[in-house]
Symmetry: C2
Subunit: 407 residues, 2 copies
């Protein structure tokens, strides 16, 4: 399996594009609607936020994907269409406009939105722009790039990746675009992630693969502990790779999951790294845990701790906050068995052994923590299980961005 270029257009038979139609009123140069469309019908599965307050598009998509099939996805940024008047009606109007322009059923269009909560979506500008958007969609890397940009809000870099693997003797490609910078604490979905593949696979098997992949990727990152109303992760598979259709678990399914997981883990890390205001990507590795679930709970608690995040921002080896966050995670463990080290490409410094502080080289620790990518390595001494989660630091810029996001 290799990483390749091309994003959501890397797989055969997918076009994508993104343009500005006017949902973002304050920045006419910023793309605000993206389209991904397959030349052939796709098996399709999606997972969504577990937030009890769900964006309108999620209710619409659940109806549209009841048959496990789709042809296209339309995603707008600049307005979340959540808690907004006429939310579902407006989401359906987006699908109807896309269906008309693409010549497919509105029910075969998946829709999603991201942006401010609670304001009425300006659906008229999306309807008006739909012919231009469809015309702009291309089978090229540039098309995927435009779509990746069109779904960004406070993101500072686009999140786009693709991989290539062999399944059933055929070359299969898979690509994705994602967005997410704030309100990132995914629970069973993620901010927004759309994945395409030319793999032939049933919608049941995609759903299964997606569930286990999301749990091990997007559900293991956090920017601010706020689980969004809009989290959506969707895979479109058009089967053009020509591999024998994957309809059950086995080596082909495993190869598919391996590729999907590689893609989603890297996209998730890009999201954490581009967390609002972030200056550090924080990786928390927990080993020696009693179970993978336990390791995950502990690691998520550490990357979610405001105090730990602020310490990393200050390159301060304040490991007591790491133990504190482990302690309130809800997991049962013996603190007297815990080792902690801070690591980066500048080196590694152990700061805690068996639950007690060590004398350590503060200068080295400062150098280690000044790097952009920092790892908090925890050994629990409880068992053989492990898990890795990703987050980012808490900075002045996060406060600035979120102190007045709407204006």
């Amino acid at each position: 399996m290799n990483f390749i270029t091309g994003g959501v257009c890397a797989a055969q038979g997918f076009r994508a594009g993104g343009i500005h139609v006017g949902v973002k009123t304050h920045a006419a140069w910023k793309k605000d609607v993206a389209l991904i469309v397959s030349d052939e019908d796709c098996a399709c599965a999606a997972v969504y936020t577990k937030n009890a307050v769900k964006a309108a598009h999620i209710h619409v998509d659940k109806r549209h994907l009841a048959d496990g099939k789709a042809r296209a996805a339309v995603i707008n940024s600049g307005n979340a269409n959540a808690c907004a008047p006429m939310g579902e009606e407006n989401a359906e109007r987006v699908c109807a406009a896309a269906g008309k322009a693409l010549g497919c059923r509105p029910e075969d269009v998946v829709v999603a939105a991201t942006g401010v909560i609670g304001q009425t979506l300006n659906v008229a500008v999306i309807e008006q722009g739909m012919p231009e958007l469809c015309a702009a969609a291309a089978h090229t890397a540039a098309g995927s790039d435009a779509a990746a940009h069109a779904i960004m809000t406070t993101d500072t870099v686009k999140k786009e990746l693709a991989v290539e693997t062999v399944i059933g003797g055929k070359t299969v490609r898979m690509g994705g675009i994602a967005k997410g910078s704030g309100m990132i604490h995914p629970n069973m979905g993620t901010m927004l992630c759309f994945l395409t593949t030319d793999c032939a696979i049933s919608s049941e098997m995609i759903k299964s693969a997606l569930l286990e992949t999301v749990q091990a990727s997007f559900n293991r990152i956090s920017v601010d502990g706020d689980t969004s109303t809009n989290d959506t992760c969707c895979v479109l598979a058009n089967g053009l790779a020509g591999n024998p259709v994957i309809t059950e678990k086995g080596p082909d399914y495993d190869a598919f999951v391996e590729a999907l997981r590689a893609l989603c883990v890297e996209l998730a890390k890009k999201m954490a790294s581009d967390g609002e205001g972030a200056t550090h990507l924080i990786t928390c590795t927990v080993t020696g845990a009693g179970s993978e679930q336990s390791a995950e709970t502990v690691a998520k608690s550490v990357i979610g701790s405001a105090l730990t995040k602020a310490a990393i921002f200050g390159a301060d080896a304040n490991w007591g906050r790491v133990l504190c966050a482990m302690g309130y995670s809800g997991e049962d463990f013996n603190p007297d068995k815990v080792d902690v080290a801070f690591q980066s490409q500048a080196g590694s410094v152990q700061v805690c052994a068996k639950g007690r502080g060590l004398d350590f080289d503060e200068d080295l620790a400062k150098r280690v923590l000044t790097e952009h990518d920092v790892t908090i390595a925890i050994t629990m001494g409880e068992g053989d299980s492990s898990c890795t989660c990703w987050g980012c630091d808490l900075t002045y810029e996060y406060v600035k961005i979120n102190g007045d996001y709407r204006t």
Copy 2:
């Protein structure tokens, strides 16, 4: 019941004081050890953090309070004595020094600590300073004031209160000092709170009163979602008021709980208001909930939301974040029944009705949210239960304070 002056010395027979002994090495003018001592033996109860990583003093106090009795409490700031070498030995040495200086058993001394985690407590300076500390303790408001200052870390204001009520025909007084500014997300205890009363009450009834009071006060505030390793709330009751001893539930017990609760709610609000870097006290009132527990869960989720906290810092009426935080609280409710308003002494502005955004006066909303004390008023439309929780905004200063707390 009335609020009065005098703090922990308001009740008869209590002395208090605070001095600098050298635990805080960087600020010789900052008091760092506090003493509260009763002239008579006290019934005593305490509750502690539910963090799995507990400070050493908590293990020591649990042993010392097994008999429900105490005479004195010694509290140091500047070092949490958590995850530190020789933690329990050092905590016992503090008790031994106090017992020697006061002429009581070390087992009748309660000890507590707050400050940096993971560093060895300089117990020698506390031992050396103990005679001076005991000599400084006085039955006066100044004594309580000194103790309240001596337990502060990043706190910017002292937290000290007292109330007077009548129980069993006798005037009973009750007072408390507390500290807490960061790592505040109490779970069954609180950062540090010591309460004194001259009420005659059994240790069993104090424990019961303390548990129900803490749940409705300290457990309903959050500064940063980080449940501390050191949370401790302790009540000392010496019985000098001369009321019939409270040994069971009834009108006297209810009067005691009412006074204790009034005290703890106000101390908790002071803590939230003085949250690290805070510029706003945020009160979240949830009414119309299906149960008090449900209202509490929703209110705590809202005051804990980093995005909501940042919006209040920016005086931005971004109510979508309030609904988002309600939604990920884990409570089951119908978003389409929710109303939200922002309130302060500058006025009230409703922003959401039945789960949908309203057109509202943005200028008025800005004025409302610019006040120091801001209320987020939520009506759920599910039932008749309600709850109030308190938090603070997320500011640049919070990041600054915690980016380099140790130095």
